[in-house]
């Protein structure tokens, strides 16, 4: 690991900053916000969106269509909203990312996974849910978005102390 130090540090940072701004600017031109999920930067803006539609828009820049090729596995009733096991699998080809949205949480986007070539398009994790909510999984495959939703009843919310 290298650390920046000495009088050159700021100059180098400024140059780097300028270069990446220029690159970002160019890169965004032909693609628009849809690139957000595909490039390898943390999607800060998408995580800040309050409702689900805004978060999907910020992350992918388009809308998803429901598909029975996306299988979302979540409990009908979650005893503890702090730890809800969720998994998704899909039979779709050319999957590049999988994201989870919890509609009733303070911020809808919960997690987004980048799936490079060679990685099986399936993921299991555990999420928090504030209350009974709609859960949406979105799979990005071949540039299109496919979704599956499920209602999860939460008996004890995951946000309380």
């Amino acid at each position: 690991m290298t650390t920046f130090s000495g009088p050159h540090a700021t100059r180098r940072l400024i140059l780097q900053g300028a270069a990446s701004v220029a690159l970002l600017g160019l890169g965004n031109l032909p693609f628009g916000p849809a690139r957000a999920a595909a490039n390898d930067k943390y999607p800060e803006d998408a995580f800040k969106q309050k409702n689900e539609a805004d978060a999907i828009k910020a992350l992918y820049g388009k809308t998803a269509e429901p598909s029975d090729k996306v299988k979302l596995d979540a409990p009908e009733i979650a005893e503890n909203g702090g730890v809800v096991p969720i998994s998704v699998t899909t039979t779709l080809d050319k999957v590049s990312s999988i994201s989870f949205f919890v509609a009733e949480n303070p911020n809808a986007l919960a997690a987004s996974y980048r799936i490079p070539d060679g990685t099986i398009p399936a993921v299991a994790n555990r999420l928090k849910m504030a209350k009974t909510t709609r859960l949406t999984a979105i799979v990005e495959a071949d540039g299109k978005l496919y979704s599956a939703t499920k209602e999860v009843k939460v008996t004890v919310g995951g946000c309380g102390g």
Binding site: D40, Y42, P43, F47, G82, V83, V84, S87, V102, N105, P106, N107, L109, A110, A111, S112, Y113, R114, I115, P116, G118, T119, I120, A122, V123, A124, N125, R126, L127, K128, M129, G158, C159, G160, G161
Partner: protein
């Protein structure tokens, strides 16, 4: 200090299954402590798995991922004995890295 990351990677022919468990508070920034003060947000933002010089899985996480997060996925193209490198960074600049041999 012991690593915050516990990982098990098992090869099953062509496919390697990875399960990881990370110790992290994953504070949302919305919960109050017993004194009524907000506990500031503290959560893992990015978790990355690398094998043989390429990323095989990258997670971008928000505060809605449960405390002590767990994740499971599978990938192709690795064999027994290959090394899997796991690293995470959180919103306060904290990070940890570990490597695991695929069994």
């Amino acid at each position: 200090m012991a690593s915050s990351i516990r990982v098990r990677a098992t090869s099953n022919g062509d496919i390697t299954e990875v399960q990881a468990l990370i110790q992290h508070p994953m504070d949302t920034g919305l919960v109050k402590n017993p004194n009524g003060e907000l506990i500031p947000a503290h959560f893992i933002q990015e978790l990355k798995f690398e094998c043989n010089g390429r990323d095989v899985f990258v997670a971008d996480w928000g505060t809605a991922v449960s405390k002590d997060p767990y994740v499971k996925f599978s990938f192709r193209g690795a064999k027994k004995g290959d090394e899997l490198k796991i690293s995470w960074t959180d919103n306060k600049g904290g990070s940890d890295t570990t490597t695991a041999k695929i069994a």
